[in-house]
């Protein structure tokens, strides 16, 4: 059925939209920019900040363009005196209760509040009254909150509640004292927050940010006694370019490696290598569970936000989790054992840094179960800053390759970065190992794409393997609740963030669905162009088993590559 169309005028420009679409959408179509702060398409359409107001010509009424549906023949003014005055004063109100220490703010460069203020030409804040002051919440290793920079746009609240179903932070209090707080807790560290960092990617200011470790990493690099190795997660290579204003989906693997080398890392390895290793271990675990009547379905364990979510919200399902460490942690473990031994490096002098699209990885690196594996986990955003600080023009660097030994990987490892990727990689390997036959059609399209829940069944030997993929914790909750109601699977991939790691909380900001798609396409592009597309075919994987672990699931593998979990409660 064709959608009902509405014709209206934005600053006298005729424009047509679907019935139910907002004035803001119409303005976008008419090519008129309207500043917004709280607005986040489909996620946060509250009309809270009141900077997107426009004037309706017939009634002189001021309305919020983000929540007001377009009406037939509506005449909208986006730049009248009244509109300017209203927007400016509301902006002054916001700034009057904002900690305006822009020069030392982590969001100095990409602060939406600053951009909107500049757009409006704010040159004076006429209010000098009371400002709210609350302590910075530094209770987690992943993300921190500075309430004095919060403008109460509620984007974080909406993402946390509606996308992630975690509800770790909520609006609290009333009136001028209103704040966004961990619900019922003083600090984020005490709350069921999973540290996914989705809030930090939508925050328009520096109120919620990753905990930065760049200075510590610089210190390690400059310390000549230290041997510093770095690993790069699959999603970073398709996200990093955005930090340098390149188009989303630009692949910069080679430039990134070159930059890392120029920064002074002693070796630049790839998390992809341990992604392949993960497939070996996890695939083996799956086969074992199926064959030996183990707990099914098996849940993937690559996403630390997802793991923490399960530990808080569904502790009874911990047995379903794969005991495999995530690729980040496997890398740390391998680097500090296999690599260190092979190169006669004292473990104490080896510093393992990881570049992740993720804020929860920082927490994962500090988990009691495996706190020695990785020393510093940086986000894509932090790496971007380090490259800038080093004065490098990344987009014009000569491409370089990851260092060998821990740097060669299959396409299966690359697709770990997108939702469904781990599942697909595992299936490629499991199929061939179980059947002993070559997989003809290597792409598992059913588990690809941005659909929130994906289900598929795969025939392996005469067995129907039922699998499911969920990304975004709200979708994870749906699967878990389905299971409670009797739905049965063999293997389920869970990723905390929408889109998987490409949409991780440590990626460059503002990932709309369109951005996610472009990053995802880039990932599958890398896979498609690789000759090596199955983890078990990676020669360096074969080598490490030969030289070190003997076989997947061996005693040594268990000691170094597997871990345990804990029930956390709410």
């Amino acid at each position: 059925m064709a959608e009902e169309k509405i014709k209206l005028y934005i600053d006298n420009i005729p424009v047509e939209v679907n019935k139910g679409e907002t004035i803001l959408k119409a303005a976008e179509k008419a090519g008129k920019y309207i500043p917004t702060l709280c607005y986040l398409e489909d996620i946060n359409e509250l009309g809270a900040c009141r900077v997107c107001v426009v004037e309706l010509k017939d009634s002189d009424q001021i309305v919020a363009s983000c929540t007001t549906p377009a009406q037939e023949d509506m005449q909208v003014k986006t730049n009248s005196k009244k509109v300017r005055d209203t927007r400016k004063m509301n902006m002054e109100f916001l700034l009057s209760d904002h900690d305006v220490n822009c020069t030392s703010c982590i969001r100095n460069e990409d602060c939406e509040l600053r951009e909107v203020a500049e757009f409006m030409g704010i040159r004076d804040i006429r209010f000098t009254g009371e400002k709210n002051h609350r302590e910075v919440d530094k209770s987690t290793p992943s993300i921190m909150r500075d309430p004095d920079k919060c403008i109460l746009c509620r984007r974080c609240v909406s993402v946390c509640e509606n996308i992630q179903s975690v509800k770790a932070i909520v609006p609290d209090g009333r009136g001028f004292e209103t704040t966004v707080n961990p619900s019922f807790y003083d600090e984020l560290g005490d709350s069921p927050c999973v540290y996914c960092g989705q809030c930090s990617t939508v925050c328009p200011t520096g109120a919620i940010t990753e905990v930065e470790y760049t200075e510590e990493v610089w210190d390690a690099i400059f310390d000549t006694d230290k041997h510093v190795v770095v690993q790069t997660a699959p999603a970073v290579r398709v996200g990093l370019a955005e930090a340098f204003n390149a188009e989303p989906g630009t692949i910069v693997t080679g430039q990134m490696v070159a930059a890392l080398k120029k920064l002074g890392f002693d070796k630049v390895f790839d998390t992809n290598f341990t992604a392949d290793l993960t497939i070996m271990e996890e695939g083996t675990e799956l086969i074992e569970r199926i064959n030996n009547g183990g707990t099914l379905p098996l849940f993937t364990s690559c996403s630390p936000g997802w793991i923490k979510f399960l530990e808080h919200q569904y502790p009874e399902a911990i047995d379903h989790l794969s005991s495999c460490k995530s690729p980040q942690q496997m890398f740390g473990a391998v680097a500090k054992s296999y690599y260190a031994e092979k190169n006669n490096i004292d473990k104490e002098d080896l510093v393992v840094v990881s570049i992740m699209p993720c804020t929860a990885k920082k927490f994962e690196a500090t988990r009691d179960e495996m706190s020695e594996d990785v020393d510093y986990s940086l986000t894509t955003r932090e790496l971007g800053r380090m490259i800038k600080q080093a004065g490098l023009d990344i987009m014009n660097l000569e491409k370089e390759k990851h260092d060998e030994l821990l740097g060669v990987s299959s396409g299966a490892a690359d697709i770990f970065g997108a939702t469904g990727g781990v599942m697909e990689a595992a299936l490629r390997t499991a199929y061939e190992i179980l059947t002993g036959e070559e997989l003809k059609k290597i792409d598992f399209d059913q588990v690809r794409g941005l659909k929130g829940l994906k289900e598929a069944s795969v025939m392996i030997n005469d067995m129907e393997i039922k699998v499911a993929v969920a990304h975004g914790l709200g979708n994870a909750r749906i699967i878990l609740d389905k299971m409670k109601n009797g739905e049965e699977y063999h293997f389920v991939e869970f990723m905390a963030c929408p889109g998987g790691c490409i949409g991780g909380g440590g990626q460059p900001l503002a990932a709309s669905e369109n951005v996610l798609e472009r990053r995802m396409n880039a990932i599958y592009d890398i896979d498609r162009k690789k000759k090596l597309r199955k983890s078990h075919e990676n020669p360096y994987i074969q080598k490490i088993y030969e030289e070190y672990f003997e076989e997947p699931g061996s005693h040594k593998a268990h000691k170094l590559l597997h871990t345990t979990y804990q029930s956390r409660g709410i």
Binding site: A48, R50, T86, M89, F93, L94, R154, P171, R174, F176
Partner: protein
């Protein structure tokens, strides 16, 4: 009434039968009935004790066949506890009932059958007579916990009719025809709203009653819930039937436990009888009502926030559209109406839309309930037809202001509304008229304010309220209200600027335009409307650092001093009296006011009006204490202290007129060292003090005592010298006077322009007072005197006439006694002296015989529209003429100033009212001539004239090169000399002479305090000056 066993009623006829049955039972049971008002307000006032006392007394007297019923509130909060005694056909309402009175009422009224008149509240009292009760019809009249009684009083009649005889659209059409508009605030037409919900197809719809009454001072919903819950339930059920909803919620604030209890019982009772629940009256229509308790967030009165709260979400508004009628509770079409709106529905359906539109105005039919609060006599709940004038509500129903205060403004709509100043008392109460004035109807809060309300303080209060109640979602409401409050606080702390007013206005507009919901959009209203009507008051705070109402604490030490035009440091001198240091006390007064003895007798003590003691018992007797200190020093300390004259300046200043204004200027200028000469036209010194104020209030020999202080200082006073006749302004200039102060009094009467004014026996009030004061022998023995006017001159003349032996003294005044401009105490004294006040009467003709006055023909007056002074305009009643015998008629309808000082080429500019024009520095068009007092402002009080005299001295000093500092500060530590008495203690009464003695002559009426009395009274001072600091 006896409850009877009855099963569920399953048909319309069944309902009718049941009602008939109840009616018959009631007729048989006609017994004596005592209704005790036991709403929350009644209970708070002690109704439970009264109820118990009645039961005990009936038990003790062994009385039979008396039914005691607990009812809701009848609305007259000022008189709670209220009881009604019904015997046969008579019914009497009693107010301010105590347990003792209740016992006496049982004996007197029930056993003896007498009515105790003095406790009775007459049903024809204007409080009730001017109301039209639809919503409140049964409140206080029935037992709210009895469904039977509700049914007898027409409950569920409308519902029965709707579900049995009407289609859904028919019900909605009836509502539309009735033009009922939402009583919760914005006044959206209820029928149209219902139509939207009806038109929206859905498997589920809801009806919500908004009973989250949160406006400060509003309690009409509570009264309905407590007094007549079935009316609301019925309205909701009719709404449910009309729109197709089967479920209803009442969202009631948890602070209303009694309302909740009664609602629960009402819902249960109605369900049991089949009037709610499944298959109502066999019609197939189901409707269940449940209660939801709100935790008291003001924003939950906003419909979408209320819905969020019912759903268990944070109480925050949601974007509209979609409107609740499209997508409300749980995303289903929902009607939200408030208690009052829904309580109108049953009568509209049972009696028809035509009946309803018979009340109120064309666009706003029906009635509106208001909660009258603030500085009003009859505070309480009133229901008036739409279109009633604001002034009628305040003065007819409300009985005018408490403590004879002067009306300043009324706030409607609570914190979302605005104020209406005195100029708009004629505004008809309807949605559009109020909106035009910048306020709203709101849910019906009506707060009356008097002159002691500071409008900045008021704005602060309401903005603070909204700031606290903001849900914090949108920027303008969350931060904007805080910023507004901060600016207001700045102004109230004396740190504001005129730019702040522009900023307030700009903020107000932005918040009104862009806040998310009604709470924020209306939050600036109190600021905007006070700025609109009282901008001068804001400016006074900013420019003069002055808060006339004594509310902005940083601007004054004590309210009494702040209220005193002469700025006398009252608490300080009261404290010296308390310590027995009377001379010190006098010096403190003299510092700011050289005429302490005079003001101790004739001042109209604005200070006492501002005294904080008023809220405990009664104002401190400040004037009496001032008089005591002056008298004591004069008699016992060798006369008044004479201030030291500073170094001689050898500059001459002339003062024209020796009234209070001229004397004051002369005093301060002489103290600074100027050569001052006062020119007085009359043979006596003192101006109006000498020839206007009667001897019995201010003995002339005492007047001279304070004038002697001036002459001792070296002020020269030349009497019998009229400037303009005996000496001209030009000549004064030539004689070397470098500056001149014009302090001429208003010695000329305004002419009474009616037939017969030329007859013998017609006098002018001012003339007659002057004659008497100058010792002219006027014999009024056996004469009937009529005095026209209601001002101070009229009353002074009247009281003089009593002393001159008049047989009958009639004051004829065209407005009401309360409207008389004369001072209250003077009017009361005159009445005590048997002066008759003929109010609402106007003379039309003086009749004579042989050139001699014989009678005065008058016409009766009724109050018409309100004028800008807040009084009703006199409107003659045609054909009501009558004749009043009179041998003497005195006209005292106002005074003028004689301006014959203007002659030769030196002309002082005079305006149309024949008053001198000055700038703010009291300077006239001629730079060396300054003017103040009566000749600039028209007839003024003594203390106002003193203020002008002081200001003039300051200005003249500066004009002549001085620093303008005319006050010599005293080095006194401001501290407590004894404990502060905060418990009630009556004011020490001023002793006066007897009536017989008053009739014999002009002896001073007030005898003055003894030393003991003065010290005792002084101990009542609350020393606000110390506390505030």
């Amino acid at each position: 009434m006896q409850a009877m066993e009855i099963n569920r009623i399953t048909s319309y006829d069944g309902f009718k039968d049941y009602k008939n049955y109840l009616g018959n039972v009631q007729k048989e049971e006609q017994a004596t009935r005592i209704l005790v008002g036991m709403g929350t307000c009644g209970i708070a006032a002690g109704a439970e004790e009264v109820h118990k006392a009645i039961l005990d007394e009936i038990d003790k007297r062994n009385l039979k066949d008396i039914e005691i019923t607990k009812t809701g509130c009848v609305g007259l909060c000022a008189k709670e506890p209220v009881i009604e005694i019904k015997q046969g056909d008579t019914s009497v309402l009693y107010g301010d009932v105590t347990p003792d009175r209740a016992r006496e009422l049982v004996n007197e009224s029930i056993i003896e059958g007498n009515i105790i008149k003095e406790w009775e509240i007459g049903e024809d009292d204007s409080f009730f007579a001017s109301q039209t009760r639809i919503v409140l019809e049964n409140c206080g009249k029935i037992d709210p916990e009895s469904l039977e009684e509700a049914v007898i009083n027409n409950a569920y009649e409308g519902l029965a009719k709707a579900v049995s005889k009407m289609g859904q659209q028919e019900v909605i059409d009836e509502l539309k025809d009735s033009k009922l508009r939402g009583r919760g605030g914005a006044g959206f037409p209820t029928g149209i709203k219902w139509q939207f919900a009806y038109d929206n197809d859905s498997d589920k719809k809801y009806v919500i009653c908004n009973a989250d009454e949160g406006d400060p001072g509003a309690f009409m919903d509570r009264s309905v819930l407590e007094g007549d819950p079935h009316k609301l339930l019925e309205g909701m059920a009719i709404c449910g039937y009309a729109i197709g909803a089967d479920e209803g919620y009442i969202y009631c604030r948890a602070e209303y436990p009694l309302a909740i209890k009664r609602l629960k019982k009402a819902i249960n009772d109605a369900e049991e009888l089949g009037l709610l629940g499944e298959n109502i009256l066999g019609s197939g229509f189901d409707f269940n009502i449940s209660l939801r308790l709100g935790a008291g967030a003001f924003v939950c009165g906003e419909e979408t926030a209320l819905i969020a709260s019912i759903e268990g979400q944070r109480g925050e508004p949601r974007p509209k559209p979609p409107f609740p009628a499209q997508s409300g509770l749980n995303g289903k079409p929902t009607i939200i109406n408030n208690v009052e709106t829904l309580s109108n529905v049953s009568d509209i359906i049972s009696k028809g839309a035509d009946w309803f539109t018979g009340f109120g105005t064309e666009d706003s039919p029906g009635t509106k309930v208001f909660a009258l609060a603030g500085k009003i006599k009859n505070n309480g709940l009133v229901e008036i037809p739409m279109g009633t004038k604001l002034g009628e509500i305040i003065f007819d129903i409300g009985g005018g202001l408490e403590n004879n205060g002067t009306f300043k403004a009324a706030q409607t709509g609570g914190p979302s509304g605005g104020c209406i100043p005195i100029e708009y008392l004629n505004v008809p109460i309807d949605y559009e008229s109020l909106q035009e004035l910048g306020t709203i109807m709101g849910s019906g809060g009506l707060i009356v304010m008097d002159e002691q309300t500071c409008m900045i303080d008021l704005a602060k209060y309401f903005v603070d309220f909204c700031k606290d109640e903001s849900c914090g979602k949108c920027t303008p409401c969350r931060i904007g209200t805080t910023r507004m409050l901060e600016v207001l606080e700045r102004i109230s702390n004396g740190e504001g600027t005129l730019q702040d007013l522009d900023l307030l206005e700009e903020m107000g507009e932005v918040i009104q335009d862009s806040a998310f919901c009604g709470l924020g959009q209306t939050a600036p209203n109190p600021v905007m409307s006070t700025l609109r009507y009282f901008r001068e008051e804001y400016e006074e705070h900013i420019l003069d650092n002055y808060c006339e109402a004594s509310r902005c604490a940083s601007m004054f030490d004590s309210p009494c001093q702040n209220a005193c035009p002469a700025n006398v440091d009252v608490p300080l001198y009261i404290d010296f009296i308390r310590q027995g240091k009377y001379k010190q006390a006098y010096k403190v007064i003299q510092k700011e006011n050289p005429l302490a003895l005079i003001c101790g007798r004739v001042c109209y003590n604005l200070c006492e009006g501002a005294c904080n003691r008023n809220s405990i018992d009664e104002a401190l007797a400040i004037r009496e204490l001032k008089r005591f200190a002056s008298d004591y020093v004069m008699k016992n300390e060798g006369g008044f202290p004479v201030p030291e004259v500073k170094e001689e300046k050898n500059k001459k200043v002339a003062v024209v007129g020796s009234g209070p204004s001229g004397l004051t200027t002369a005093f301060y200028l002489r103290k600074k060292g100027y050569d001052v000469t006062i020119f007085e036209a009359l043979p006596v010194v003192g101006g109006m003090l000498a020839v206007g104020i009667p001897e019995y209030r201010l003995p002339k020999d005492l007047l001279n005592e304070e004038i002697t202080v001036l002459t001792t200082m070296g002020v020269e006073i030349i009497v019998d010298t009229k400037v303009g006749e005996d000496i001209t302004l030009k000549e004064l200039k030539e004689q070397g006077f470098e500056a001149l102060y014009m302090g001429v009094g208003a010695h000329q009467d305004r002419e009474l322009n009616i037939e017969g004014k030329e007859l013998d026996g017609v006098y002018s009030g001012v003339d007659i007072l002057r004659d008497i004061n100058l010792g002219k022998d006027l014999n009024m023995k056996n004469k009937k005197v009529a005095i026209v006017g209601g001002g101070n001159v009229a009353i002074d003349v009247a009281r003089n006439m009593v002393r001159l032996g008049a047989e009958e003294v009639n004051v004829v005044y065209r407005r009401t006694l309360d409207d008389m401009p004369a001072h209250r105490e003077e009017i009361e004294e005159a009445q005590y002296e048997q002066v008759k006040m003929n109010c609402l009467v106007n003379p039309v003709k003086i009749k004579g015989n042989n050139g001699q006055v014989q009678a005065i023909e008058c016409v009766e007056i009724e109050g018409g529209e309100f004028d800008t002074s807040g009084r009703r305009k006199p409107k003659e009643i045609p054909g009501s003429n009558f004749t009043m015998e009179a041998d003497v008629v005195v006209s005292a309808i106002g005074q003028n100033v004689e301006c014959n000082f203007n002659c030769q080429e030196v002309e002082v500019e005079v305006n149309d009212s024949n008053l001198i024009e000055t700038d703010e520095q009291l300077q006239t068009n001629l730079d060396w001539i300054f003017a103040g007092g009566d000749c600039v402002k028209g007839p003024s009080t003594v203390i106002e004239s003193i203020k002008d005299g002081k200001d003039a001295a300051r200005e003249i000093d500066m004009y002549l090169g001085g620093d303008g500092n005319i006050i010599t500060e005293m080095d006194i530590e401001r501290e407590l000399s004894g404990p502060i008495l905060e418990e009630e203690k009556p004011r020490v009464k001023m002793p006066t002479i007897l009536l017989s003695e008053r009739k014999r002559g002009f002896k001073e009426v007030e005898k003055g305090y003894s030393e003991d009395m003065a010290v005792e009274e002084s101990r009542r001072c609350l020393r606000c000056d110390v506390e505030i600091k």
